[in-house]
């Protein structure tokens, strides 16, 4: 379905939905699935190789980049959780999902991916994250992990539901606010997956349009937008990870309750209240 159907000249042809390119025993394999498998092989080989040759002394190149990314996300996750053991338990998943989305977004900017190579008028390869099926599955798996982990860390389904309600659930106002919070929780899957899909798919469309506008000098006109897509791909991977971490951290952190109960029994001395205390005094 072409975008500029109103103009007399034929406009750039952009495809949003994936199209089947192979059929194996009656199962249709789409171009996104095909490129997804290729990306998975490349990402797995690259990251397993990095994990094998990593040393305490810093190295340069791709290994340093992966190390920097891992440290970045680890600091993020440890800053979000109060309890260090919980943070150590869930950091590997968030680091993995960050690198998975990042490399899938970046591998979709290679020149042979997109409208260049065509198999009967459909592109042969498309970026994996430019497919709503793919991002919906990433979002579902992530939110399933977040729900499962928050139920396990809260210690039961009832205690997990309890954290939605700010005060007591018997108060009608807090009850309605709690129901609204639960509903917002359900829309998180859709918002996470739609945000990732739309950013990558619209980037592909923009690159396609600007490649069409510069017929012969297409690499030159599409270059600024490819660089923007590099930045946007990285930013969207980071945002997905940050939001998933925040969703888990909200459900798991119980500091506010403990702080309220702990400080109820602090003894305040009326003579020294308000004066500067020497360092170390309570």
């Amino acid at each position: 379905m072409s975008v500029f159907s109103l103009l007399a000249v034929s406009g750039p042809v952009v495809h949003i939905a994936p199209a089947g390119v192979l059929t194996i025993h009656g199962v249709v394999i789409t171009n996104s699935m095909l490129y997804g498998w290729m990306s998975i092989v490349v990402i797995s080989v690259a990251l397993i190789w990095v994990a094998r040759i990593i040393t305490i002394k810093p190295q340069g190149g791709f290994v340093q980049f992966v190390e920097a990314g891992v440290e970045f996300i680890t600091n993020l996750v440890h800053g979000a959780f109060d309890d260090k053991e919980v943070a150590y338990r869930y950091t590997p998943y968030f680091v993995t999902i960050f690198f998975f989305i990042l490399f899938n977004n970046w591998l979709g900017l290679l020149p042979f991916v997109g409208e260049g190579i065509q198999s009967n008028n459909y592109p042969l390869l498309r970026p994996f994250t430019a497919d709503l099926n793919a991002t919906l599955s990433i979002g579902l798996v992530t939110m399933a992990m977040v729900y499962g982990a928050s139920i396990k860390e809260s210690g039961g389904f009832a205690k997990y539901l309890r954290h939605f309600f700010v005060g007591s659930p018997k108060n009608p106002l807090y009850f309605i606010i709690g129901l609204l919070e639960m509903f917002t929780d359900l829309t998180r899957v859709i918002s996470l997956s739609l945000r990732l899909f739309l950013n990558v798919a619209i980037g592909e469309i923009v690159i396609g349009v600007f490649s069409y506008l510069g017929h012969v000098i297409a690499p030159l006109t599409a270059l600024p937008f490819t660089l923007i897509e590099l930045f946007i791909g990285a930013l969207q991977a980071y945002i997905f990870t940050v939001l998933a971490t925040m969703y888990l951290a909200i459900a798991v952190n119980h500091t506010n309750e403990h702080q309220r109960e702990e400080h109820l029994t602090d003894v305040v001395d009326p003579e020294t209240m308000g004066q500067l205390q020497p360092a170390g005094a309570k």
Binding site: I16, L194, R195
Partner: protein, 77 residues
């Protein structure tokens, strides 16, 4: 006698134009507000510039609605 002539109006294009026009105002204003508040906070206290990452996160959350408006082009026939 005058017969009324049927005029074919392509309402799909009108609908798409309205959706794009109306749908991009909101996120544009929202992102401008976020940027303005971030800059005024940095102007008052230069140490607040370490929150640039969080400001960009809010920009991406707001930008979702702009992208949803853009995606509606491909949904309306």
């Amino acid at each position: 006698m005058d017969f009324a002539q049927a005029v074919v109006i392509n309402t799909a294009i009108i609908g798409k134009g309205l959706m794009i026009g109306g749908g991009f105002i909101g996120p544009a204003i929202g992102i401008g507000l976020i940027g303005g508040n971030y800059l005024s906070a940095v102007g008052r206290n230069p140490e607040a510039s370490k929150f640039l990452g969080q400001a960009l996160i809010f920009v991406a959350i707001v930008e979702l609605f702009g992208l949803l408006a853009f995606a509606s082009i491909f949904i309306v026939k």
